[in-house]
Symmetry: C2
Subunit: 340 residues, 2 copies
Amino acid sequence: MEQSPERRVVTLKDVAAGAGVSVSTVSRVLDDRTPPSRSAAAERVRRVADELGYRRNVFASGLRRGATGTVGVLVPRLTDHVMAMTYEAIERAARARGSFAVVATCGDDPEDERRATETLLDRNVDGVILATARLDDTLPASLRERGIPHSLALRTDGASPAALGDDDAGGYFAMRHLLDLGHREVAVITGPWFTSSARARLGGARRALAEAGAELPDDRVISTGYGIEAGNAAARRLLGAAPAPPTAIFAANDNLAIGAVSAVTAAGLTVGDDVSILGYNDIPLAAMMPVPLTSVRTAFDQIAASALDLMGAPAHTETRALPTLIPRASTAPPRRAPSP
Amino acid sequence: MEQSPERRVVTLKDVAAGAGVSVSTVSRVLDDRTPPSRSAAAERVRRVADELGYRRNVFASGLRRGATGTVGVLVPRLTDHVMAMTYEAIERAARARGSFAVVATCGDDPEDERRATETLLDRNVDGVILATARLDDTLPASLRERGIPHSLALRTDGASPAALGDDDAGGYFAMRHLLDLGHREVAVITGPWFTSSARARLGGARRALAEAGAELPDDRVISTGYGIEAGNAAARRLLGAAPAPPTAIFAANDNLAIGAVSAVTAAGLTVGDDVSILGYNDIPLAAMMPVPLTSVRTAFDQIAASALDLMGAPAHTETRALPTLIPRASTAPPRRAPSP
DNA sequence: CTGTTAGCGCCTTCAT
DNA sequence: ATGAAGGCGCTAACAG
């Protein structure tokens, strides 16, 4: 990539020359980490820098300072709406703190995750936020050993600092809602079993069921991916199950729920009326579905801010943001009477 | 952000010491831009570098080389699925070329767009891809003047190099499909009027209508945002219109279409049966909607690759990827006979 | 407060 | 093919 000739950027030297001072003076005056000097020279430097359109070269500066004000974020994919929301929230939080967030996507392969992390570290990020941690992943451990500031977002590995939602509470709220509506024949579509969130949400749901003395047979729990298709397939299986399909489905994710809605509709049933469906995360689409989707809202902004603050925190530090149930039309009392 | 003591990174000097050669030699051997040397020393250097886990410091390297192998991407928001798909496609294309993509989101405010661009340039990106260009935006012009390599993705300003879909053709395909099904009472929900894509898609649709001798009264064209809610509101207006609502709606975007689906369903009508709805971009959700959505598929991968290749190309260079109509259940022949 | 000096890690002449 | 030296742009440590 050749630089065009007119692309000459103004450097400290140019500003120094223009203001008739040394580069160190300019460097100091323009250093926003210290209280701004009010001297005449400083005033002049600022004016000249402004006129010339000076911008600090983050590379050179970072090289010297050892820190770049950049935080790296790792997500499996941005086309997952939850990840996009999480990243945007982190970006906002970073901006509010005067730093910059860069994201890398790495899919679901741990090897790619490791590679992507190295790529981020190559770019001298001050720390890394992983929104990817699988329970069986060794990357957080390796970051801990290497002393690299990092935190986990939305998930935990039980060791590295983590900012997540209270998935257990969310699962409880969700199932409790279905039970309160009168459902007893319920099913759960959990996310991938290698995530802490999938397990915790199911755990909370089981807690609610136990309190109500209701059953959740094994064939009413399907662990699957996090995509719409996965939800569709899972719901199809549930609907075809003997002796009778469930009257309510709790999906551990809005995408799964949307897939389930699709399957239920395709089966000629009505969502809410025939089968209640409940999602998780409350992505904007949930409220805009043909039948608005009841969902458990996650406080992404809060989680993002915590993830940022927790980078470099001691191990076993965790924050859990409490989720909120948002009831909508996709959940309603069961039409069939509960079986005896 | 303090560096922990154990976080000492391996530098060229370490490798040089380990291999018993000078840093320049190591630098040369490890330079992947030149054909790899096969000398014994080179072999040794590579081995030592590998053992020590050496990673080139992109900052320092970029400082000297003047190029960093990084391309900046600007999008309004990543929570827009189209933008997320576009960015992921660019990221893939960049990776295939051995470079790295960093994204910044800037919302819809031109001032924020400018700021975000500067932030990216501060980080020494080799060029910028704008997936944001409004027709009235002066940023591309300013980049042209400054000689900064850049290109526009998905939209054009008629001057800077641009990689986009053939929106006119897409609009034509879409409307042609509705006309072929027998619809004559059609409406169009376009995206924001400040985008080239909204205008071109409507233009193509008008072309098809003209061919068929069909009318598109002004009150059957609604220009709005790009979100689900906007589509919902627009469809609501169309449904309430006198003397009769349209039998088919072409939305210039899947989100708008999904919002329209929601409005149609809420009005007690059936999508496909009572009102045909057609979207644009074919995001994955389209196929998974309760009533699968007919949509015009955009070749994001192709557009992304072109955008990357076009960075720094002469002005007025444009590539247009041809879209494909994907017919699904949301479009069907009209129930009502077309008015005379 | 200011200027001088040294160097962050790397790449690139220029010799050898 | 290799090594020594200088410098990319900026900042920290040191005098003044």
